[in-house]
């Protein structure tokens, strides 16, 4: 079937990538990129770090300048998709407009899990998802004296580092017993805990937030579930995200924690693909089990894969997951998935904030977490891209270096 019009819902990292890659692949039909945020498509990672610190400009957030969309004939529509009519292959928009598609790509991303405690609607309480959030937050961070961060995940800790660098007293409340517990090894959590404490960040583990204390509609503190009170003129929460599934639910697509797709990123409707934060895909690095990832790599590589399929080059999606987070002077890079890891080998020196943790599952290398050891991360990406033969015993040998092993073990 000739493909004359591709419609993409969600103009974020993944949706943008599909549009750009389609043109790079030589696709000449119509592309309609529908996004409900104002302005041009932009990247989110700097919102909780470089952009908030004022290190990069708003222009540097943009994937492309405005004339790119006209030159490449990509119609950027600022509107919200409210329904998908699969029988007539039409997307209905909030403005009342309908857009016909030959192929539809769902890239709606996710929204922040709301902070469901009394007082959460007070002024001075923020989640960070959009440029608008960061723009509202930036001037307040400079003035804030007492900051409470709820959740010691990536975004919360990135923000904690920014607030501490701005001179605020920062408390992080976390239900778990260590930072980034769901994502990294104990060894790596420990390094980050020590580093943050060195920057003046205080952690309260196994502490949930009970409610937010307010004064004249503004936040003035928080009270934990156990009744501990903390002063706060700014509260930022990062307690996970919820995929934006409503459109797909109402359209009757298969859903399992995300929009379910097959190994080529097609949904249960062959005219609809999905990717990024909103999609659950069978991952070869996860025993083919469905996985929903929230990362730039995932959105970008999946966007490229969908574009390639749409121009007639289908291939199973097999890219190795990788991720980074920048917190203060620390850059954490993760290659692979550490699910089910049962033994680790450490390289480097945690006391100098340089550490790589090699994660093994049944003696098979499954992931490498690197803090300020980008060379290890790059080598790990190459090693993990093929079934790696590195054993824990080899890795634990004195003088072992990932880079050297990688160079010696190329096919």
């Amino acid at each position: 079937m000739a493909l004359n019009s591709v419609v993409i819902v969600g103009a974020g990292q993944g949706g943008f990538q599909v549009a750009a890659s389609l043109r790079q692949e030589g696709y000449q039909g119509n592309i309609t990129l529908i996004g409900d945020e104002p302005g041009l498509p932009y990247q989110r990672p700097p919102l909780s770090k470089a952009y908030l610190l004022g290190k990069i400009s708003a222009t540097a957030l943009l994937f492309r300048p405005e004339d790119f969309y006209t030159q490449q004939n990509i119609e950027l529509v600022h509107d919200q998709a409210v329904a998908v009519d699969r029988n007539n292959r039409q997307v209905r928009l909030a403005s009342g407009r309908s857009v016909d598609y030959d192929h539809l790509v769902l890239a709606m991303g996710a929204h922040n899990r709301p902070l469901a405690v009394p007082g959460a609607e007070a002024q001075g309480v923020f989640g960070i998802k959009t440029k608008a959030d960061a723009d509202a937050l930036a001037p307040l961070v400079k003035e804030a004296r007492n900051v409470v961060v709820v959740g010691a995940g990536f975004v919360g800790l990135e923000f904690a580092a920014v607030a501490a660098a701005n001179g605020a007293t920062v408390h992080v409340l976390e239900l778990g017993d260590r930072p980034m517990a769901r994502a990294v090894s104990r060894e790596m959590s420990e390094l980050f805990r020590c580093a943050h404490e060195g920057w003046g960040v205080h952690f309260d583990f196994r502490q949930g937030i009970g409610h937010i204390l307010t004064e004249g509609g503004k936040v003035c503190g928080v009270e934990t579930v156990e009744g501990k009170r903390l002063l706060a003129d700014l509260v930022v929460y990062g307690i996970g995200v919820i995929p934006n599934l409503q459109l797909a639910l109402e359209a009757g697509l298969d859903i399992d924690n995300g929009i379910t797709v097959d190994s080529t990123l097609l949904t249960s409707d062959p005219h609809i693909s999905s990717l990024g934060d909103v999609a659950a895909f069978p991952c070869i690095h996860n025993d083919q089990k469905l996985l929903r990832l929230e990362s730039v790599q995932n959105a970008v590589d999946q966007g490229r894969a969908i574009a390639a399929r749409l121009v007639g080059k289908p291939a199973p999606y097999t890219a190795l997951p990788w991720f980074w987070t920048d917190q203060g002077t620390l850059k954490l890079q993760i290659a692979g998935l550490s699910n089910g890891c049962d033994s680790t080998v450490m390289l480097g020196a945690p006391e100098s904030n340089q550490l790589s943790v090699l994660c093994f599952r049944q003696d098979q290398l499954v992931a490498v977490e690197s803090c300020n050891r980008p060379g290890d991360h790059m080598a790990a990406r190459k090693i993990l891209a093929r079934p790696p033969r590195l054993t824990p015993a080899e890795a634990a040998a004195p003088g072992f270096e990932l880079k050297v092993w990688e160079a010696a073990n190329r096919d």
Binding site: A20, R23, Q24, Q43, P45, P46, A50, I56, S57, T59, A60, L61, F63, R64, P65, F68, Q72, V296, Q297, V300, W324, D326, K331, Q333, N372, R373, P374, G375, M378, A379, K382, K403
Partner: protein, 106 residues
């Protein structure tokens, strides 16, 4: 607006407009240049923006340090003038900057 020249591995030449203060990576991706990807958006985390700075221009940029040096250790076909172009900021007087691209970013 400085004009930058990029030469692809195949020899194809592109003239690209850059802004002072912008990174060379962003100037390249804004112009849809094939061969520079910039997946991490300039966070020095992906090494898909590897490029060779023409010898005559190398000294115009502060030398690579820290993360960039380590990332460069692992790029394909590293040379003495290899840089991650997201770390190169376009400054006044850089009209004519000449950049060559590697065969592949992987």
């Amino acid at each position: 607006m400085p004009t930058l020249t990029f030469i692809e591995h195949s020899g194809t030449t592109h003239e690209v407009h850059g802004e002072v203060g912008q990174s060379v990576m962003q100037a390249a991706t804004f112009a849809m240049l094939p061969g520079i990807q910039g997946d991490c958006g300039g966070a020095c985390s992906c090494a898909t923006c590897h490029a060779y700075v023409d010898e005559a221009w190398v000294e115009r940029f502060p030398p690579a340090e820290g993360t960039e040096v380590d990332m460069l250790d692992n790029v394909t076909e590293r040379r003495a003038n290899s840089r991650l172009s997201c770390q190169l900021v376009i400054a006044e007087g850089m009209d004519g900057l000449l950049i060559r691209l590697p065969a592949s970013q992987y």
